[in-house]
Amino acid sequence: MSDDKQSPSRRRLIKSLVFVPMGVGAAGALHGGLQTAGAAATAAPEGKPNPYTPTFFNADEWRFLNAAVDRLIPHDEHGPGAIELGVPEFIDRHMKTPYAHGSIWYMSGPWLDAPPEFGYQGKLPLCDILRVGMKNFDNHCAQQFNGKKFADLDKGQQEAMLKEAEGNKLKFPDISGKIFFANLLAETRNGYFADPGHGGNKGMGSWKMIGYPGMRADYLDWVEVRDRAYPIPPVDLAGNRG
């Protein structure tokens, strides 16, 4: 649906929005502070990953993880990437939680094959889905690319491989490539978007990019505002301001 084919009702609706009066602040009126915050993040040079020593993943897994999350959420003109926001650190730390060890999943057998609409039916908890998946993925790459592991491939090859995993086209011996990919992507997004206290989303970089006020949790004064973008930058659980 494209905007130039506006229906009369659409035009009416747009007109009925009260626009900000001209004058102070009008220039930034529609997107105000948020646009600026987003722009700042965008203009920033690629951040350095902070030195972090993984304690869950081994060296090969860590290389895989860093390469993969960099493809899933790259640094680009739209904002910070997964690497500079510390997503690998988040995932490494997250793997040691009871959640990643399957504490809230039903983990008893027998394990039967079932159509995808019945959900994950494997016996590995999240931390092992990622580990076993990385190993299978690396072995697969080594076979296909003359001994090269995933992290050794060029970016285009990496992207192509991830796409194949997403589309369930990679057949691994120990785990479904699609399930591995889905969990890897979910963890990457969690690390990118969750509160910085969990190890990722450094400096609330992703929140600034999308204009999310984070943990403010108090908007009664803004429910009925229609003519201005929400102006207050994010705050995190520790009370830091973005």
Binding site: M1, S9, L34, Y106, E117, E166, Y212, A217, V223
Partner: protein
């Protein structure tokens, strides 16, 4: 049995909405009551205190307030000849645990059923003849009427500080409310909440389509309020962490904030948490219960003798407890005999997301749990099955309980799930989108039921509850019809893009997609012990000192969220116990 506790008048299994209501009503009456709750104790302070409570990773990924499936879950299959597999990770529905139950992390949409919902089968047969209903559709009338239940529904709304606009008071239609609703005796305790953009636009679109939009009744307080028990509520601050989260603000009605505070200190009441009830103990003749067996906080098997056993463990677990305890006869889908497990039903939910340009400040991170706008022009009597092609009905609504990026940012059609193009899209759309949902009724069928799984066990060695459920043609047609109307409505708003479809012909129930925790039926109320598990007072036909209030009692699901009716039925059940049962224990309705 190592430990046997002193006998009490009543033992309540579960500390959610129904448990809290029964505890309040029966301790008011002087009974000695013990409540056994499998989860931890929880209260607004400190468990739901800011900022800890609004952690999206903890709340929506680790599901801190929800039941851990590791202990207990269900198995699911589509058809009676299939092998069921466990519900290993939470998706489609999210039962609660801990004091407050799902009543602490619900959203607050608080509907009453329509008068015609109570007499669905009779209404359909009278209006359209017996041939209209498919043979396998096992819908039944409720054994009570709207008018009988009205005082209980009203009382529950006043306990919850429900914010809304009455549509019909004493038969008079009120401007701004739902003209199709059953007549009520008085206004809602509080006026509606403010409209966020999506609901404001909903009114415009509904008007253009000729629908009668009204504010969703929401138990998210729009003003400061003190309920009839003296519990205080503060105005909802639109925090955006409602569904899945406890309220940081004493604004969302919950057992924790609105009922338990007055019951907890009573001398004739005791709350025992980390108390997992394993079964109801029956006398040899299986006609009376002697109490329950549970595992205490130290894992010791403990017996709690009681004169009355009140199953308040949520619809699914009420049925599970009845099945593992041998209360009544399990339903058999082949012979269509037996009643425990019969008529399991669900809710037919579909969503349409609309994307706008950056001038449209939809701010989905702002949220007020149950608040928004809806209409009943396609629900209840307004739906003519001979024209629409389906029995039942549904509502379309604009609701915004609050969204954050960990909970997921929907992207327009064609956008990939990762990479630069995805990033560009989430950045562009995050604050400029909202959704309308269709929440439809779900009929009950001979082949949709609950039973015990032959293979899988819970952490306590009991067979898991097995759910046999799939969508039937009627619900798929309903989804197509109602989503079609919702899409027409969305088009009136002319978004840049739209995403969201109706269920496709032959589509199976997908347990990985959240659809709602409105699981219903399985131990239904009715007039005849041959076709229902409970009588009109929620009393077991088979074991007369067992009552099982909860959505398990619905013979089928209507187009609304269940809790208004669940709370109303709990008060109705408590009244029958107080006024009829205690002076003359035994069956309240002669079979």
């Amino acid at each position: 049995m190592a430990i046997v506790k002193t006998k009490v008048d009543a033992v309540i299994v579960g500390a959610g909405w129904t448990g809290a209501i029964l505890a309040k009503e029966l301790t008011d009456h002087g009974l000695n009551v013990v409540c056994l709750e499998r989860g931890p104790d929880r209260d607004t302070q400190p468990d739901f205190a800011y900022p800890r409570v609004v952690d999206e990773l903890e709340g929506s990924v680790h599901r801190r307030y929800l039941q851990a499936l590791a202990q207990e879950t269900v198995t699911i299959r589509h058809g009676v000849n299939d092998t069921a597999v466990p519900y290993r990770q939470m998706g489609s529905f999210k039962p609660g645990t801990g004091v407050g139950g799902a009543g602490s992390h619900w959203s607050g949409a608080h509907f009453r059923p329509l008068p015609e919902d109570f007499l669905l089968r009779s209404n359909m047969e009278q209006r359209f003849g017996k041939k209209l209903l498919p043979e396998n559709m096992s819908i039944q009338d409720f054994p009570i009427t709207y008018d009988e239940l009205e005082p209980s529904l009203d009382h529950f709304e006043y306990v919850c500080g429900t914010s809304g606009k009455a549509g019909v008071i004493n038969g008079q239609v009120q401007e701004g409310g739902n003209p199709f609703e059953g007549s009520r005796k008085r206004e809602y305790p509080l006026p509606p909440n403010p409209n966020y953009l999506g609901s404001e636009w909903f009114y415009k679109a509904a008007k253009e389509m000729g629908y009668h939009a009204y504010p969703i009744p929401a138990s998210n307080a729009s003003r400061a309020y003190i309920n009839p028990y003296g519990c205080q509520m503060g105005p909802c601050n639109a925090c955006g962490f409602c569904s899945d989260y406890g309220c940081l603000n004493y604004s969302k009605a919950s057992p924790n904030a609105n009922v338990w505070p007055v019951v907890r200190g009573r001398k004739n009441f005791e709350m025992r948490t980390h108390a997992q009830v394993l079964k109801v103990n029956l006398a040899d003749d299986k006609k009376t219960a002697t109490g329950v067996t549970y595992l205490d906080a130290q894992g010791r098997e403990t017996e709690q003798p009681a004169d009355l056993v009140l199953l308040c463990a949520f619809s699914l677990y009420n049925v599970h407890l009845m099945l593992v305890s041998g209360i009544g006869t399990p339903y058999d889908p082949v012979t269509k005999t037996g009643t425990i497990g019969k008529n399991y039903s669900y809710q037919n939910l579909n969503r349409v997301v609309m994307y706008f340009d950056e001038t449209v400040q939809a701010n989905p991170f702002i949220g007020i749990g149950g608040a928004g706008a809806t209409f009943d022009d396609l629900n209840g009597k307004q739906n003519d099955p001979t024209k629409s092609g389906f029995v039942g009905g549904g509502i379309v609504w604009a609701r915004q309980p609050g969204a954050g990026p960990v909970r997921g940012i929907p992207t327009p059609p064609g956008v990939p799930n990762w990479g630069s193009a995805w990033k560009k899209s989430v950045k562009e759309v995050f604050r400029h989108q909202f959704y309308y949902e269709v929440q439809g009724s779900c009929m009950s069928y001979d082949d949709a039921y609950l039973s015990l799984d032959p293979t899988y066990k819970d952490a306590f060695g009991r067979p898991l509850l097995r759910m046999t459920f799939d969508w039937h043609d009627n619900e798929i047609k309903a989804s197509q019809f109602l989503v079609g109307k919702a899409q027409e409505m969305c088009k009136v708003l002319n978004p840049l893009a739209m995403k969201g479809d109706a269920k496709k012909d032959g589509q199976h129930y997908d347990v990985t997609q959240y659809q709602s925790t409105h699981t219903c039926g399985g131990a239904i109320m009715g007039k005849d012990p041959k076709t229902s598990a409970l009588n009109k007072y929620l009393q077991s036909w088979d074991v007369s000192n067992v009552f099982a209030p909860g959505a398990n009692a619905f013979p089928q699901n209507n187009g609304y969220n269940p809790t208004g009716l669940v709370g109303g039925l709990a008060y109705w059940c408590a009244k029958a116990i107080r006024e009829q049962y205690l002076s003359n224990p035994g069956p309240l309705v002669q079979a």
